[in-house]
């Protein structure tokens, strides 16, 4: 916001309160109410006016308070924001970022723990990413704001609390780059957002049992950066994809299909997926059963190794 005076923030409770997760804390006092806007309570209004602001030359960064509350803005995101560059035949770009705190692990009530990223990854015209560490978040949000395309920026809300190092030296992290976060040899395990820490935990446990897992952080959901993924799978011959979202027609389904096609001759086992169940996100007391944990990842790893 310091670098570019055309960057605006807008959303419910983001100004005076600093957002319900305090992500925007202090920004209103630093940049003023014209650039850090407490909006009326209407998600369609937030996204729809961000489109108009972008047409006026601003770069709006919208906050949706919780994953489950994005849907009143769904029409503006998928039918308008995603399509306007195309309809203008390239004369109008849409540099709008939509930040969405998403995912489970926080024991919250209904509509506060969902993983809706597949809807948006499915929509042409949108870019979708999800950082898993403070370092990635620091760099990727800047890349997202710099992008001339609309970017869905999914923030794994359970990762707001754990601290991590940020390396402030450029060039930082590109917007769409998957990355191997732990080297291994026998099975590649892949995920994004909060799932990455689950995968690292699974890799620790597996190592104790003498099984070597290579962990890949997807970071970008659309487009997917297949280079590092395919390289890893060609080495290990096995891929397990973990995601909090329901597995049916998910980001993981798409990656499984593509990897099966592109790394067919390297695969020793079918690509397996560990997902949230194909049921609504359950009441908080059942979330630990619903969300894939290290045990469920390892169960799939065992199955992959059994081929």
């Amino acid at each position: 916001m310091q670098d570019d005076p055309r960057v605006l923030m807008m959303g419910e409770d983001i100004g005076t309160l600093g957002g319900v997760f305090r992500v925007t804390e202090g920004l209103k006092s630093e940049f003023g109410a014209k650039r850090v806007i407490d909006t009326p309570l209407a998600e369609s209004g937030i996204v729809g006016t961000a489109i108009g602001l972008a047409m006026h030359g601003f770069r709006p960064v919208c906050e949706i308070q919780f994953d489950g509350f994005i849907f009143p803005g769904f029409d503006q995101i998928t039918s308008q924001l995603a399509k306007l560059t195309n309809r203008h035949e390239g004369t109008q770009s849409m540099p709008v970022v939509i930040r969405v705190p998403y995912g489970g692990h926080i024991g919250a009530v209904e509509h506060h723990q969902e993983s809706p990223e597949a809807y948006f990854a499915h929509t042409a015209g949108l870019r979708s990413v999800s950082p898993s560490t403070p370092h990635d978040a620091y760099w990727m949000i800047q890349e997202a704001i710099r992008s001339n395309d609309p970017v869905m920026f999914f923030e794994p809300k359970s990762r707001y609390w754990p601290k991590g190092q940020v390396d402030f030296t450029a060039p930082g992290v590109p917007l769409h780059a998957s990355r191997v976060v732990r080297l291994g040899t026998e099975v590649t395990v892949l995920g994004h957002g909060a799932m990455v820490s689950v995968l690292l935990q699974a890799a620790e446990i597996a190592a104790e049992e003498g099984i070597s897992l290579e962990v890949v952080d997807l970071r970008s959901l659309s487009p997917v950066d297949y280079g590092p993924i395919l390289e890893s799978v060609r080495k290990t011959g096995r891929l397990v994809i973990a995601q909090e979202a329901p597995g049916n027609v998910s980001v993981g389904s798409e990656i499984a299909a593509t990897v099966s096609q592109k790394a067919f001759y390297s695969l020793e086992a079918p690509v397996l997926r560990v997902s949230g169940f194909d049921a609504p996100f359950p009441p908080a007391k059942l979330e630990s059963v619903y969300l894939p944990d290290a045990d469920r990842v390892l169960e799939a790893v065992d199955r992959a190794l059994a081929y």
Binding site: E12, D13, G15, T16, L17, G18, V20, D38, T39, P40, L41, A42, S44, G45, G68, F69, F71, P72, G107, A108, V109, E110, H111, N248, F277, D278, A279, P280, P282, P283, A284, K285, L286, E287, V289, Y290, D295, R296, E299
Partner: protein, 376 residues
């Protein structure tokens, strides 16, 4: 009525002022006979329901702080608006609440622990509306329920379950929502449909001045009562901390709706004394002085003063106090006894009819969980 209020501001309808004195003037005349007709018992119930709700609300807040609930949504301060309007509805009416209407729910007969179960995270529902005098489930997505209410009321018109002249049978619908909700498309669309189809329905807005940290002035530059007017719905602003005003105006409006005169809109001016939820810190966005000014207009204090002025003695108030303590203790005991629901609950009722994917995953999970018994 503020139907005539598009010009100069008209003060809200108030039957009891902040010190509990009955207001007799030309704007209250139409309502005074209704109040005079209330039995002592009914007046006692108003007090009792407000006090019990507040005690329950405090206890739930305590339970949350002690880690027993994921979250609590306090109703403290809004008991007058809720208890008055709840008692004005008839058993056959349908209520579509938001998520803060604990008092309305208690009046309609829900078990307070069912609200607790929702916020403890053992269910997404809590009760069967059919068994709880048509008190529908809480809705957390802001404003969505107003459309459901309107659709239900459209059903009443199609089936002719209103305007028969039989007050025991004619139905109406009440939907509750907040000042923040008035900005949502759904709420505005609900009013468009309601006006278009002249539904037997009351839009009951509790303007508690805040939508989390956002003041009502961000949602609207005009008094929100004019929103209703703008859709062609006769609308009234009331002192929402006056249980009698809430009762009398809701009664009038629901009678009109049931009789086939179309939808109505009430803006109840009230205040959320507590935090938005237990995760919220109101000191970040509002002043102590503002909160104090509303505490001075507390619905329970003023109604107690009114009852005392009519001769109600200590014995009654002590009895209600004791009942409230019992309720809190019972709620605490039963909350602590709530267990984690069975994991199958996750798969039960996702669909009304059998579904292969659900069956398969339920079976998979059963075997997976069983595998921990031996192999792991």
């Amino acid at each position: 009525m503020s139907s005539d209020a598009m010009g100069p501001e008209v003060p809200p309808i108030q039957l009891l002022d902040a010190s509990g004195v009955l207001q007799e003037n030309d704007r209250t005349t139409e309502f005074l006979p209704v109040i005079e007709a209330l039995s002592d018992e009914m007046l006692q119930r108003f007090h009792r329901d407000m006090v019990l709700t507040r005690r329950f609300d405090d206890e739930a807040g305590n339970l949350q702080r002690q880690g027993q609930l994921a979250l609590w949504v306090p109703s403290h301060g809004q008991e007058g608006a809720q208890v008055g309007s709840a008692h004005a509805s008839r058993p056959q009416d349908h209520i579509f609440p938001s998520y803060r209407e604990h008092a309305v729910g208690l009046v309609r007969g829900i078990d307070p622990v069912d609200v607790i179960r929702l916020l403890r995270g053992t269910t997404h529902g809590g009760w069967d509306p059919v068994e709880k005098q048509n008190f529908h489930l809480y809705t957390l997505v802001i404003g969505s329920q107003t459309l459901h209410a309107t659709g239900y009321a459209m059903g009443i018109t199609i089936d002719g379950e209103y305007a028969t002249g039989d007050p025991e049978r004619d139905q109406a619908v009440v939907t509750y929502f907040g000042d923040g909700a008035t900005s949502q498309g759904d709420v505005n669309e609900a009013m468009v449909f309601a006006a278009s189809f002249q539904t037997p329905e009351l839009f009951f807005l509790q303007n508690n001045q805040w939508a989390i940290s956002v003041p009502v002035s961000t949602q609207s530059r005009t008094p929100l009562v004019r929103r209703g007017e703008g859709f062609g719905i006769p609308s009234t602003q009331i002192d929402g901390n006056d249980v009698l005003a809430s009762y009398a105006v809701t009664l009038r409006d629901l009678d009109a709706a049931r009789a086939g005169d179309g939808p109505r809109f009430i803006e109840a001016l009230t205040y959320r004394i507590g935090a938005h939820t237990t995760s919220d810190d109101p000191t970040k966005y509002r002043t102590h002085a503002e909160t104090q000014s509303w505490i001075a207009r507390d619905p329970i204090t003023r109604f107690e003063a009114f009852l005392r002025s009519r001769g109600e003695g200590d014995a009654f108030f002590l009895e209600v106090e004791a009942e409230a303590l019992d309720l809190a203790e019972d709620v605490r005991k039963r909350t602590l006894a709530l267990e984690r629901p069975p994991v199958e609950l996750m798969f039960d009722h996702v669909y009304s009819e059998a579904h292969p994917r659900i069956d398969e995953q339920k079976e998979w999970l059963k075997n997976y969980e069983a595998s921990f018994g031996d192999s792991l």
